[in-house]
Symmetry: C2
Subunit: 318 residues, 2 copies
């Protein structure tokens, strides 16, 4: 009898914890996810992780409906937002904006309708719209790459640098890299923009190889560019002379790191799985009482032969 009373008391205590969850679990919540179409490698990864996460969340939380839409341009993405609200009646939006400027006003319109807003990677140009902001750490990507370069070269040698597209993001990465490297005896022979593009990476590197007879390392900053650099280096037969540091976490590069390829000894993460993070923390807003409003800045993790298996996803296109 006494045991039963204790049991009932324990049940009541547990029930009092569960009440808020149960109430939430009955409500249907619709989360819209708007991302660029898979036009290049990294956005291919974004599309893959958005789909994987849609499935995971569906399986875990039956009351969450996740509507995933892709767009081929900023204008198409803005139009898609209207549909998400008018047709699907979304409670929350997770968006990786095609471009910051043209998406700011359309997202703000949804915010004013009471939609919860999570922005991933590229911020909007106006403060106060995003409830959650999830992004990679561009400063750290440059710093971590620079620190590896200094360590691997023993603080001296000749390097060349291929930058991205002239943007604030590229400046953050480059300035943080240079800040580290300038404290060493490493000489940066030259830097050129390669626009986060494989073909440009190939051409810029061909030029570097023609001009500089002695290159110890290449900072390509981006894995697409690094693929072009690898091609140019191999065509010139100079792959024994140097190593290359890219950036992002592309499957092919992580595989080379994992295999111990001396040409690609490490990679630095700027992971497309950040869209998964944005979707997961948005889901937490509805299924838990955890505090989620804020900024979640993901590490630029150095991928080495030791940890590469954690970042190799064979099913991902990127």
């Amino acid at each position: 009898m006494r045991k039963n009373v204790v049991f009932l008391l324990v049940l009541c205590m547990i029930a009092s914890f569960l009440v808020p969850m149960v109430i939430q679990a009955q409500e249907k919540v619709v989360i819209g996810v708007s991302i660029p179409a898979a036009t290049h490698g990294w956005t291919g990864g974004i599309n893959y992780w958005a789909r994987v996460t849609q499935e995971r969340l569906r399986g875990t939380y039956p009351n969450l409906e996740i509507i995933l839409v892709t767009a081929g341009s900023a204008a198409e993405q803005a139009n898609g937002l209207e549909d998400l609200y008018a047709i699907h009646n979304i409670d929350a939006l997770v968006i990786l904006p095609f471009e910051s400027d043209p998406l700011t006003d359309p997202v703000e319109v949804l915010k004013q309708q009471g939609v919860f807003i999570t922005v991933v990677d590229r911020g909007l140009v106006k403060d106060g719209i995003a409830d959650i902001y999830v992004a990679g750490d561009n400063h750290a990507l440059g710093r971590v790459s620079g620190e590896y370069m200094v360590e691997a070269l023993g603080g001296q040698g000749n390097i060349v640098v291929l930058r991205g597209i002239p943007t604030v993001i590229d400046n953050y990465r480059f300035d943080s890299f240079m800040e580290v490297v300038e404290k060493s005896d490493i000489e940066v022979l030259d830097w050129q923009y390669a626009n986060w593009n494989r073909d440009d990476g190939f051409q810029v590197m061909q030029d570097f190889l023609a001009r500089f007879p002695n290159i110890d390392a290449v900072w390509a900053q981006d894995d697409d560019v690094a693929l072009g650099v690898i091609e140019a280096v191999k065509q010139a037969g100079r792959e024994k002379e140097l190593f290359i540091v890219g950036g992002a976490g592309m499957k092919e590069m992580v595989a080379m790191v994992m295999a111990g390829d001396p040409l690609i000894p490490v990679d630095v993460l700027y992971p497309p799985a950040m869209i998964a993070t944005g979707m997961e923390v948005t889901a937490l807003y509805f299924v838990s009482n955890a505090s989620v409003l804020g900024e979640y800045i993901l590490d630029a993790t150095l991928v080495t032969p030791e940890n590469a298996h954690l970042y190799y996803f064979p099913d991902s296109p990127f």
Copy 2:
């Protein structure tokens, strides 16, 4: 027949998504959570949210085991960490350190054993130990409080300020507040330390009331201090003359905001539910492939009569 083939294909596609989840779901994962005992209001909230989240995660992910331990001192917390590893064999640790200095080495020992480390609120004194860092935004707490003060007073008037314990956190809050207020015509009559303590808040405010015949607003920075301030103001019968801005999101204060009490028109969040955030994102590391390594800095949300219901938790002790 054709329909069956399509159906099978769809099943295969879904299965290929589910494979990584299923593999993970079979592994038992143990997460240790180490927090200070409920010695004052805010840590009472920490304990409440840790328990609520333990239940939520148990209900959602049967393969996660969450071991929750509390400590009355930094030394007790350090000893408890050894037990978490030696007895419970934890895969991950979520810790809100009692103090930063004495916990840094004990946490680093676990890190070196391969334990995944999430640090909440008070950082460790050494970089590179925490895989995830979750915290409130002390700069924003000061800034948001200052911005409200300027707006509510129309940019002019006399205020007094009660600071916390002389620490880096208090400096961040105070400096950010002053930066905003100094751009207005508001005069800060005086500031004194009230040590995030109700009794000190009462005494400091009694002194301010005796010295200044005309006070338009009080920045108490903390809800425990604000309770002491309220008491002093009511004893002096001067509650019609001024308003008070605290900070944290204490239940009693949020209730007053919700009720439209002119003495407590707003509150600013530094939510104890951040322990829930730390536990949830640590769980995501094991149950999803979302990128979670990084820093999650939570907003200092302004609690107003319009949104107070979102931040009022009647079952919480805080």
